[in-house]
């Protein structure tokens, strides 16, 4: 590899900013200075699709209307555990307006037997709401009437829906053999090759940070203080505004899929695999996306069903889940019963950290408490055992920082307890145990903005309505996808277009791509046309793991840089200079040493040899290499959040008054959009701390609150004042040096709120959500 040396900014402005030299590939663009020296990057650039969205011109998957389109609906099992003896679709087929019926012969979107791929005629029913068959009809009402006419003969069996019951020796079994669940493009799945015993699978003892370390026994024996508690979190379902769904348009030689998806590339790959088609014959389009928080990476059983129905009927089929289906079958954040034990010296130094967790992803895998306890603090002796417990309930899926939100709820409360026990301020304790430089700065800047000094002793407010403040930290890895490619095209009329399969799920990917390319070409972001969310364009990673910004913006910049150099070469030729002697700014190309030589960018394109310039680039390896494999970058996406709450100890009602969220994501690209992401993460964190939880009826196996009436998501009054502080951090890892923020925004909030509730009441809440019921039970010893 031909290399060159780049000198790049490194460190935290206002703290320890310096420069660093890195050997990089010869094709890499020059180093960008820090944000205050850039034109568009790091600024509050307006979303380029804002107008389309607020005027309703943006068409989402659920808005799609194609000529001859049918509506698909699915028949779901009313029983949580059953065998299907027979299915009779005759009456439904003859119902007027029905065009196609399909009955599943395989279950999708749940764990599958590892050593047994024998296809039964019908998959066994393992949760109430599991789809069995689908109908495509001229409208939804007809499809639903037809579903009622499908006759199914079930043999029902005992079932189990709670972790505690599932672990009893006599519990009905969800799976009778070892099972696996593939991670479909970042949307979940579990560690491979673990054994299942009864309903218990695991333990998972390692992550990409490695396995256990040190000697726990020794660590605890060296400790001055040992604390151990059990923390519980709830099952948290997904409530995106737009439910899961697709429109599949199966033409004999080409299939087009409109998908409300976080991952166009993986949906294409999975569809091609399921239907045995070449990837080149499947096109997935996600132009606008109505919200995805981790569960929308896979094709899903609804996508498979729509594929079959469109293939059979020869017409486009739209299949969108309704809200109830979304709750019961479209993925959820598994619960956790998390035993966490810490040993520490008097000065706060941790000597041992031991973690054991059980959680249920229903019929899926991936219940765990993440890597946060393993990675956030310095502790020489550590071990984790994370178990999946199967229950007859809908499958889990990724949910904004999977595992780590559950993990943080425990870890950060335990640290709060440790600080109190050692009589050290929680922030000072972190200064001792947290070696992260970025979080140190975040603590400093956050504490000042929040006015942490005013913190009182727990429960010190007089009267029944008490105020409290608390804080918590988060860790999230810098995940990078190298299968991230971008094309940039420039046209003779001056138009510039960016193309990639990468989807914008509302996070603002379209806008940051325009900013990055505009910055490189000396143009304005609004001059750049962004065409993404379409697998006709180059592959890109899914919007999961907070990886998109860090993965896609470097190739976007690099492709734009290549295009720029090609254009500069053509211009330089006319001026009898070398391309390197030219530069761009303010929509112009000019000679660096001769101000008289200048031409408008647009005019230069008008003069070019061909009608278009076309360049592409894929994600280069990180400058200086990766930390793990080719997927985990050095550094982390840490945050510190502060919460202020009011607790009415007589009604049990907890109100969050204010959050200060201090975050870093490398080089911030768009301040407004970053704030939006943090606001969203904080709101969902508050909701996790106080409101949302799935209610399963243990006697009938149904979710009782599968709607937005009884499943309590936050509304306007539940949203506090949220102040964000962004800490710029340069680490010289790529041509943009930018990273994402979606998941980090969601990790610390619930723990910060729980710590604030403790500070208000003097009573520790070990279980989320902290509802009036839980508060009153605790304060009244019920």
């Amino acid at each position: 590899m031909k290399k060159k040396k780049l000198t790049l900014p490194h460190g935290i402005p206002g703290h320890n900013l310096s420069q660093i030299d890195r050997e990089v590939h010869i094709d890499e663009p020059p180093a960008w200075p820090i944000n205050d020296k850039l034109q568009h990057v790091g600024k509050r650039v307006k979303r380029n699709d804002a107008e389309a969205k607020v005027t309703g011109n943006a068409k989402y998957t659920s808005d799609m209307q194609l000529p001859g389109m049918l509506i698909g609906r699915m028949l779901r099992s009313p029983y949580p555990h059953a065998k299907i003896r027979s299915v009779n679709t005759e009456k439904a087929e003859n119902y007027p307006g029905v065009y196609a019926i399909h009955v599943f012969s395989r279950a999708f979107g749940m764990a599958q037997p590892a050593d047994n791929d024998k296809e039964n005629q019908f998959p066994e029913i393992k949760y109430a709401g599991q789809p069995i068959a689908g109908v495509a009809a001229r409208d939804a009402e007809t499809a639903e009437e037809a579903l009622k006419l499908i006759e199914i003969d079930y043999e029902t069996f005992p079932f189990v829906v709670t972790v505690e019951d599932a672990l009893k020796p006599e519990a009905p079994l969800v799976f009778t053999t070892n099972v696996e669940q593939e991670d479909k493009g970042g949307g979940g799945g579990g560690a491979k090759g673990l054994k299942t015993q009864g309903n218990l699978r695991g333990p998972n003892t390692a992550s990409f940070y490695g396995g256990p370390r040190g000697d726990l026994e020794k660590g605890f024996s060296e400790a001055d203080v040992v604390l151990e508690n059990t923390y519980r979190t709830q099952v948290h379902t997904h409530c995106p505004l737009e439910t899961h769904g697709v429109v599949v348009d199966w033409k004999p030689d080409f299939v087009t899929i409109y998908a409300s998806s976080q991952n166009t590339t993986s949906v294409r790959n999975e569809f091609a695999e399921v239907f045995d088609l070449p990837m080149s014959k499947v096109r997935v389009i996600t132009e606008y996306m109505g919200g995805g928080f981790g569960a929308k990476h896979a094709l899903g059983n609804f996508g498979v069903m729509a594929g079959h129905l469109s293939k059979k009927s020869g017409r486009p089929v739209k299949l969108m889940l309704d809200r109830k289906e979304e709750h019961i079958s479209a993925g959820n954040r598994p619960n956790s019963i998390h035993v966490l034990k810490v040993g520490a010296k008097k000065d706060g130094k941790l000597t041992a950290l031991q973690q054991k967790s059980h959680g249920t992803a229903g019929v899926g895998l991936g219940a765990g408490v993440g890597r946060i306890a393993q990675a956030m603090y310095e502790c020489p002796n550590f071990s984790t055992e994370q178990y999946d417990v199967f229950t007859h309930a809908g499958p889990g899926a990724a949910w904004r920082a999977p595992g780590n939100v559950q993990g943080a709820f425990a870890l950060e409360q335990l640290m709060d307890e440790l600080a109190e026990k050692l009589d050290i301020d929680p922030l000072d304790l972190r200064d001792v145990i947290d070696k992260s430089e970025i979080r140190k700065v975040e603590r400093l800047r956050g504490a000042e903005k929040f006015d942490w000094k005013r913190r009182n002793k727990p429960g010190s407010d007089k009267g029944p309505v008490k105020k409290g403040i608390g804080m918590a930290q988060s860790h999230w890895p810098r995940i990078t996808g190298i299968n991230a490619s971008v094309e940039v095209r420039a046209f003779r009329d001056g138009a510039v277009e960016v193309r990639s399969a990468v989807q914008d799920i509302g996070t603002g990917t379209k806008t940051i791509l325009a900013q990055v390319v505009a910055e490189e070409l000396g143009l304005k972001p609004e001059d750049i046309t962004i065409r993404i969310g379409d697998t006709l364009f180059p592959d890109a990673p899914g919007s999961g793991g907070s990886q998109v910004t860090g993965s896609i913006t470097p190739p976007a910049r690099n492709a734009a840089y290549k295009l720029k150099m090609q254009l500069l070469e053509q211009v330089a030729e006319g001026w009898e200079l070398e391309a390197e002697e030219l530069d761009v700014a303010d929509q112009k190309i000019f000679a660096k040493n001769d101000p008289s030589k200048s031409i408008a960018f647009k005019e230069a394109l008008g003069n070019m040899r061909t009608g278009q310039l076309l360049t592409s680039a894929s994600r280069s390896d990180d400058y200086g290499g990766f930390m793990v494999g080719k997927s985990i970058s050095y550094g982390e996406l840490g945050s510190v959040q502060f919460a202020e709450v009011t607790v009415d100890t007589e009604t049990g009602y907890v109100k969050v008054d204010r959050i200060v969220a201090v975050h870093s994501c490398g080089r911030p690209l768009n301040i407004t959009q970053l704030e939006s992401q943090i606001n969203g993460g904080v709101i969902q964190g508050i909701s996790y701390a106080l409101y949302e939880y799935r209610v399963m009826d243990k006697n009938t196996g149904h979710q009782m609150n599968a709607n937005l009436d009884m499943y309590k998501v936050p509304f306007a009054f539940e949203v506090p004042e949220i102040e964000t502080v962004l800490v710029e951090e340069y680490s010289a890892r790529s041509s943009t040096d930018a990273f994402g923020i979606g998941e980090p925004a969601n990790i610390a909030t619930a723990a910060a709120v729980a710590n604030a509730v403790y500070n208000a009441t003097g009573v520790r809440f070990y279980e989320a959500p902290i509802t009036p019921k839980r508060v009153l039970e605790a304060l009244n010893n019920l």
């Binding site: 009402e141 209610v695 009826d697 009782m704 309590k712 009036p772 019921k773 009244n780």
Partner: protein, 335 residues
């Protein structure tokens, strides 16, 4: 949702001629039969969407002229037509000034959009939000089944009083306030026959008939709700606690109406919502206020007394201290 026909009633007589079933009756009738009333349609539509209600005909009473009027009564009270929406009631000056607890209950009910559609009549006749009742997969007492799933199931939002058979709670929080004001319901039957019943008698307990929550028969229509005159000493307080501050059903709500002069109470009524399968008057506790000076002690005593017969279930014992807190605070606010 099933197909149905639509009948646009332009008078009470027409409506009564067209209707042949209450929504409650229709829930256990053969699918595709029965003609039922609809005003704002909020509850009717919800029940239809879940597949619980499959009527043959919807009788739209929404457009009947005059059924939405709000007028003074001859003796100084207020008569509110059944079709008046919750939003219209909130705009009425008399409700705002004289019937403050009612105003507060309206202000805390549902959302502004829902209040624009929701009628008073529909609010009284709405069915419970018990999640087993609302689920097509659970055939409970109230739908002709033979069990109450909530009893030994997930019952945190359920009743703590009079919950022997069915442990649902009535969902009308407006009625909590109306009951404390001793409201009466004017009902028009076939051939124009009118009857006037106390709101207390309008609601019925599951033990009397689990399939319905009120006395309405299939040939009857709620015409109006009548509020008696209040005195210049009347104070009224309404408090509600939900799981959220933004719109939510009550975990508990309380209304107290009392005559108080110089801090001393001469007469009081109290009703609790979300406590029992019906909005529940707790008169014996309210009576404890009579001739008492309003203070912390009496407030606590009343709260304790009101909860002394509570029989909470596995998951809703928290409602007892919650009601006590709301009652205590309401009483103290009378001073």
């Amino acid at each position: 949702m099933n197909k149905f026909s639509w009948y646009q009633a332009s008078s009470v007589e027409e409506a009564l001629k067209a209707v042949n079933s209450t929504v409650s009756e229709s829930l256990t009738a053969k699918p595709g039969t029965g003609a039922v009333f609809k005003s704002g349609g909020i509850d009717v539509l919800d029940l239809m969407k879940e597949g619980l209600l499959q009527p043959e005909m919807i009788v739209n009473i929404r457009e009947i002229p005059g059924l939405d009027s709000i007028e003074d009564t001859a003796d100084g009270g207020l008569k509110i037509g059944a079709n008046a929406t919750l939003a219209e009631m909130m705009e009425n000056e008399k409700i705002k000034q004289n019937y403050q607890a009612l105003y507060q209950s309206l202000n805390h009910a549902a959302t502004p959009q829902l209040r624009n559609m929701a009628s008073l009549g529909g609010n009284l006749a709405q069915r419970t939000r018990c999640w087993y009742f609302r689920s097509i997969d659970h055939q409970c007492f109230r739908k002709g089944g033979s069990t109450c799933f909530a009893k030994n199931g997930m019952n945190e939002f359920h009743s703590i009083l009079k919950n022997g058979m069915c442990s649902s709670v009535h969902s009308s929080s407006i009625s909590t306030a109306l009951m404390a004001f001793d409201a009466k319901v004017e009902i028009t039957g076939s051939k124009g026959k009118q009857r006037l019943v106390d709101l207390d008698d309008f609601f019925i307990l599951p033990g009397d008939d689990p399939s319905r929550e009120n006395i309405l028969r299939s040939d009857e229509l709620i015409a109006a709700v009548i509020l008696p005159k209040i005195s210049s000493d009347t104070k009224s307080i309404y408090k509600k606690q939900g799981a959220r501050e933004s719109y939510d059903w009550a975990l508990a709500d309380v209304a107290i109406v009392a005559d108080v002069k110089s801090g001393k109470c001469s007469k009081a009524t109290m009703a609790l919502g979300a406590a029992a399968p019906v909005p529940l008057r707790i008169q014996y506790a309210a009576d404890m206020l009579v001739n008492e000076k309003i203070d912390e002690n009496i407030a606590k005593e009343v709260a304790e007394a009101a909860m002394e017969r509570a029989t909470p279930l596995e998951h809703n014992a928290y409602k007892v201290p919650l009601f006590k807190a709301l009652i205590k605070r309401s009483v103290l606010q009378l001073a």
